[in-house]
């Protein structure tokens, strides 16, 4: 047992770093010293960077194989991805958390009150949530999966509530929390059904059980409903139909830096969980039994699951895009855009093992960078101390804040899939993956949706760059902190720079998406039995 544990523990080194850091910042946040409090985000950053560094050091092949994971190398890409984007997300939040209180303290209007300060908690929760998402990569059974998802979710509820001030983020918090709890119950029920059908919580065992079922009379009803419920519950995390309705409200209500977080970390966690669950099901070895009892093997997920994902994908991207068309609030629009991008990402889920997972993660990377760019640009400016919300605030932004205007435009171009920005390569690779899985219809839907999305992304580029300034936009100023600005520039440059090294990134994603050799043998075992039947 010890022998089996230790490599797993080593694999958890990044999470441990984050955990230690979380505890540290939580404590240091209570310090009276302003300098220490101000250094919290950077400590967070340092921890995240350290965890990135820890991944290649610890995640060796031997360790990974010893860990008995379903996707033994997944963390090698996903963990640095989470931590890397996490660094940018931290920069976004510098100066936002506790801002009013810190200002008052600095002006001497009030004394420092450790009971009212939330900065330390915020960064602690920030780190814990990322840590939860990282832990998902190491999940080997449903319990771990469940706990990791909850570890991602619970801090985010709090972050929405404490990240800013005012009624809006509290409303966002309550909606996010309650609906999140409901969705948790849904996938939890799904877990139960899956467990009931397969008799195990271990992924590898579930995998073989499902393979056996598939080789028999097909995956049974209980398991299917269970898997579908899990997927539907996780749809909440990835803001996919039918669980995406909260997204516009929560994204709009939450403080911008938290919105950026919500748009990336829970989504990545949700997709990772889905990848794990679907890896248990497998993208091959399923057969169709026709009326004469002859088995026709087909590639891809079992038909009902594939069909549901198919519908979810199309509905998600479509509803996201057409919803975004109507918006006059930037953040709301970005929320719908986030929904739409989830729709594209589901293409990767459906495409699955051949190229889908790597496409999915590569796209998540692209999405993380470009959506953070747009949120960072929004976070770097404010109007009368309030965060930017409507498009009219952005009109003529280039006159006062040219760099942010350009960053918004760049992120919009990248989000719409304009070459040579990273979003384009993400999309292309998703299409490639979908083609590999024979999903022409989905590609067509995604193509049409991309075209529709042009309608509103263009607005995001044109309004700051071209539109004449409005009365509202005259009052737009920079936020005191320069870090969101820097984050925006880094992300904006990143959208271009990353496309230059897209080949390397895709390679890394590809190697991380390899299934465990045990899984492969399981599915190969299943196939001959299927054909001999």
């Amino acid at each position: 047992m010890i022998e089996a544990m230790s490599p797993r523990l080593i694999l958890l080194a990044p999470e441990m770093i984050l955990f230690v850091a979380a505890v540290t910042v939580a404590i240091l946040g209570l310090s009276k010293n302003h300098g220490i409090r101000a250094s919290l985000p950077f400590i967070t950053c340092a921890a995240l960077i350290a965890s990135i560094a820890a991944v290649p050091l610890t995640w060796t092949n031997e360790n990974a194989q010893a860990a008995n994971l379903l996707l033994p190398t997944l963390g090698r890409f996903v963990k640095p991805l989470l931590a890397g984007v996490g660094v940018l997300l931290v920069l976004l939040s510098v100066g936002s958390v506790d801002r009013k209180m810190e200002e008052s303290v600095a002006r001497g209007r009030m004394a420092f009150d450790p009971q009212r300060v939330v900065r330390g908690e915020f960064y602690a929760f920030f780190l814990l949530s990322i840590m939860g998402a990282m832990l998902l990569c190491n999940a080997q059974d449903l319990i771990w999966l469940f706990l990791a998802i909850e570890l991602v979710s619970l801090p985010t509820y709090i972050m929405v509530a404490i990240g800013g001030s005012g009624n809006r983020n509290q409303e966002a918090a309550v909606k996010y929390f309650f609906l999140g709890a409901m969705s948790t119950a849904v996938f939890l029920y799904g877990f139960a059904l899956l467990y009931g059908s397969t008799g195990s919580l271990q992924f590898l065992e579930i995998r073989s059980a499902l393979a056996a079922q598939s080789a028999g009379s097909g995956i049974d009803t209980l398991a299917t409903i269970g898997i579908v419920l899990i997927l539907l519950g996780l749809c909440f995390k990835i803001t996919a139909v039918p669980m995406q309705f909260y997204a516009p409200d929560v994204y709009e209500g939450a403080p911008t830096h938290v919105t950026a977080f919500l748009a990336f970390v829970p989504k990545t966690a949700g997709f990772t969980a889905m990848v794990l669950i679907l890896s248990c099901v497998g993208w091959s070895g399923h057969t169709l039994i026709d009326t004469d009892g002859i088995r026709i093997p087909y590639t891809g997920l079992p038909t009902p699951i594939a069909a549901i994902l198919w519908m979810i994908a199309i509905l998600t991207m479509t509803l996201g895009n057409i919803g975004a068309l109507l918006q006059s609030s930037v953040k709301r629009m970005l929320a719908y855009s986030s929904v739409a991008h989830s729709g594209y990402l589901i293409l990767g889920l459906i495409a699955g093992a051949t190229a889908g997972i790597e496409a999915l993660y590569f796209y998540l990377l692209a999405y993380g960078v470009m959506t953070t760019a747009s949120f960072a640009a929004l976070a770097a400016i404010e109007r009368r101390g309030e965060e930017i919300n409507s498009f009219s605030d952005l009109a003529g932004l280039r006159l006062r804040h040219p760099v942010m205007a350009w960053m918004l435009a760049i992120s919009a171009a990248s989000l719409v899939g304009m070459p040579p920005f990273i979003g384009f390569f993400g999309k292309i690779y998703l299409f490639i993956a979908a083609f590999e899985a024979d999903q022409f219809g989905l590609v067509l839907a995604a193509v049409l949706n991309s075209a529709i999305s042009g309608l509103y992304y263009l607005k995001l580029a044109i309004v700051p760059l071209v539109a004449p300034p409005s009365a509202r936009s005259e009052e737009v100023t920079s936020v005191p902190s320069r870090w969101p600005f820097i984050a925006a520039v880094v992300c904006g440059v990143g959208t271009i720079f990353l496309s230059a090294i897209a080949g390397t990134l895709i390679g890394a994603a590809k190697s991380s998406a390899q299934a465990s050799p045990m899984v492969l043998t399981a599915s190969q075992e299943a196939l001959p039995t299927a054909s001999t039947h």
Partner: protein, 716 residues
């Protein structure tokens, strides 16, 4: 004549490339004129360049004429050619090269000759514009001469097309020379566009030839023709003559594309003389003559040409009778005479047509130049009712008498050059085996009488009678707009001009250049009659006939000739007399009769002309004739109503539809569709927490229900 003679095969003779200078010189002169234009040269440098270049090219053509031994093809450089295979139809060759046979030389001689003369004339005529449009004018002339030379000299149809459009361009630029006058601009535009309609026909004809023969080079086309085998032709071959014909009709102002030529008189008179009378408009004749063998690909092709020519001749003559503007009368006479040429081509006498082209070139250039001189001297006055007895005015004698020469020639007065040439055409028509051709012959005779009438109507009005004149409305016909820029009254009628007495106005008489050119042209008009004299009196070979017979326009290369063959041997008759004699009698009668009527109505008692008109207008059954004649048979109006207006309306509708329907409804509507759909989903995002929960739960329930339904139905 009975036998199909083959067209002489051209040999390739690169050593004759010096003839290409006839092409190059006008082009260089054009560049020179353009430079003059750009450098704003104030003097007459452009005119000198032009005259020298044109004279040189005339000299070259004369030299080529004397050096001529047989048809030659002279390659110059590769222009538009490429190939994609080795087969006959797998290449396209249209090089810059020359095809020189007698027809070419015949045409080039009078084109360059008249070009030189008229440039000399223009150097004086246009001198008022020195420093302004003067160089531009000669630029246009040079472009024209280049294009015309390319048209005639070119060794393939694409070169011809180049020249064809080039002369159209020159015509456009020169008609619109006085660009500040909207009428001139409109006329230039109309000329170009109507020509373009014809050009399309020509282009399609060229395509059709290419598609069926695989070449557009004359030598190869004629070689293919010589092989024969065209006894049964499919529709593609048989439309070739009709398409080419359309081009010719456009360029030579025949029905239905004739209306541009009268309007083209808005251009300066030397232009009218050179382009719209002597040379350019005969390009249609040249085309048909050059491609004559191909007009027998369809039995009715030449008949169509004949009919169109005959009817145009009559129609234009009737209009010409009722016009008051001297240049317009001459313009309609040009159309009418071109009609004769087409009639001649149609009935099978290319010689008659080409000979008439030659004679017409001289006398019509002469007539126009005299009209120009009058216009030049009388401040743009061209209304024949307002000018009278000019021959009595000192300094205007040469003009008056050379004009008489021109008029006599135009009315085919017996034993003038035009008499012979017209005779040749009408003789062929009247002795044809085809009844309709004979009818056209009589129609031509009738038209000849009308021609004599309206021609002398002009002369008797303008040059004969008592001296009286009113100056024109313009300060000068060619406005010195740029030189007079400071006190620019141009474009507005000078308010004092109506009140101005004739005595205050001093018409300035033409000087040596104009007079000299008029005299030379009159002489030329006499000289071109020599072949006719030779034939009629000395019974020698007609030079013109030799020239034509040695080329692709030779008579007897055609099928139409076959039908007429026996009859022509059996000495056909006209009114029971020997054809020649009979025609002489009838022709003389028509010509002299017309002149006499003109004399009576317009010299002896000028009032009677008005009385006659009034009398005609009083009678309802005949009044439409003068009305229609004066209004040019309403052809412009009919075209406007039938083509231009519906198209214009259609264009407006399309324009509106494009903006509001295609763009507004279809495209914008498509863009709005997702927004509209998006609005449908708006209620789902109402903002209430439990509303969202309900929707989510509903979504899950739907999925689970679907799954169960699928299961019950038996998915596997």
């Amino acid at each position: 004549m009975t036998q199909l003679t083959s067209i002489p095969q051209a040999i390739i003779a690169p050593e004759l490339s010096w003839v290409g200078l006839a092409l190059l010189l006008p082009l260089l002169a054009a560049v020179g004129c353009a430079l003059c234009c750009a450098l704003r040269v104030k003097g007459k440098a452009a005119a000198i360049i032009t005259i020298l270049a044109l004279a040189a090219s005339f000299g070259i053509i004369v030299k080529a004429y004397f050096a001529y031994t047989g048809p030659v093809q002279v390659p110059i450089f590769q222009w538009l050619s490429f190939q994609w295979g080795t087969g006959q139809f797998q290449s396209f060759t249209a090089n810059c090269g020359m095809y020189i046979d007698t027809l070419t030389l015949y045409w080039m001689l009078f084109v360059t000759g008249l070009g030189t003369l008229i440039s000399i004339y223009a150097s004086e005529y246009m001198e008022g514009d020195c420093g302004a449009g003067y160089s531009r004018f000669f630029f246009g002339i040079c472009i024209f001469l280049f294009s015309m030379s390319a048209l005639v000299l070119g060794d393939n149809l694409i070169m011809l097309y180049l020249g064809w459009e080039g002369v159209g361009l020159a015509s456009y630029l020169l008609i619109g020379y006085d660009y500040a006058r909207p009428a001139a601009v409109a006329a230039g535009k109309k000329a170009f566009i109507m020509n373009r309609i014809g050009d399309l026909g020509l282009a399609l004809g060229i395509f059709m030839l290419w598609a069926n023969y695989g070449t557009v080079q004359y030598s190869e086309l004629f070689a293919a023709m010589n092989k024969g085998g065209q006894t049964s032709v499919d529709w593609e071959l048989s439309v070739i003559p009709f398409l080419l014909m359309l081009g010719a009709f456009g360029k030579s102002a025949q029905i239905p594309l004739f209306t541009w030529l009268p309007d083209a008189m808005e251009g300066p008179t030397p232009v009218s003389a050179l382009i719209h009378a002597a040379t350019m408009v005969t390009a249609g004749v040249y085309l048909i003559a050059r491609m004559y063998p191909f007009f027998e690909l369809h039995p009715q092709a030449l008949a169509t040409v004949a009919w169109v020519g005959g009817l145009t001749a009559l129609l234009a003559a009737t209009i010409g009778m009722a016009q008051y503007d001297i240049k317009r009368v001459f313009a309609y006479s040009t159309i009418s005479q071109l009609g004769y040429m087409f009639l001649g081509l149609g009935v099978g006498t290319t010689f008659g047509a080409c000979y008439h082209t030659l004679t017409h070139a001289f006398f019509k250039a002469l007539l126009f130049l005299t009209a120009g001189a009058i216009m030049h001297g009388f401040a743009g006055q061209l209304d024949l009712r307002k000018l009278s007895g000019l021959r009595l005015l000192p300094g205007w004698r040469i003009v008056s008498w050379t004009m008489l020469v021109g008029c006599l020639w135009l009315s085919a007065f017996p034993y003038t050059a035009a008499f012979f040439s017209k005779d040749a055409i009408l003789l062929k028509a009247l002795t044809s085996v085809r009844a309709d051709f004979r009818f056209l012959g009589w129609l031509g005779l009738f038209t000849a009488a009308l021609t004599a009438y309206y021609t002398f109507r002009v002369w008797f009005r303008v040059c004969a009678g008592p001296l009286h004149f009113e100056p024109g409305a313009e300060g000068h016909h060619e406005p010195h707009d740029d030189t007079h820029d400071k006190h620019d009254t141009h474009g507005k009628p000078a308010p004092a001009s109506a009140a101005k007495s004739t005595h205050a106005f001093h018409p300035h008489a033409p000087r040596w250049a104009i007079n000299g050119v008029l005299l030379i042209l009159a002489l030329g008009a006499l000289v071109v009659g020599i072949p006719g004299y030779n034939e009629t009196f000395a019974h020698k070979d007609n030079w013109a006939q030799q020239m034509i017979a040695g080329s692709s326009a030779m008579e007897g290369a055609g099928l139409a000739e076959d039908h007429g063959a026996e009859v022509s041997e059996a000495h056909p008759t006209v009114l029971g007399m020997d054809a020649h004699t009979g025609l002489t009698v009838v022709g003389c009668t028509a010509s002299i009769g017309g002149i006499l009527v003109a004399w009576y109505l317009h010299l002896r008692s000028r009032k009677s002309a008005d009385q006659l008109r009034a009398a005609l207008l009083r009678r309802w059954w005949i009044r439409w004739v003068p009305i229609c004649m004066e209004n040019k048979w309403y052809v412009d109006e009919i075209y406007h109503a039938c083509f231009r207006l519906p198209m214009w309306l259609g264009a407006q509708i399309l324009s509106f539809g494009d903006r509001h329907f295609l763009d507004g409804v279809m495209v914008d509507g498509l863009a709005k569709l997702p927004i509209a759909v998006g609005k449908l989903f708006k209620p789902l995002y109402g903002g209430a927490l439990q509303g969202y929960a309900a929707t989510m739960a509903g979504g899950i329930a739907l999925v689970v229900a679907w799954l169960s339904w699928v299961w019950l139905r038996g998915f596997n």
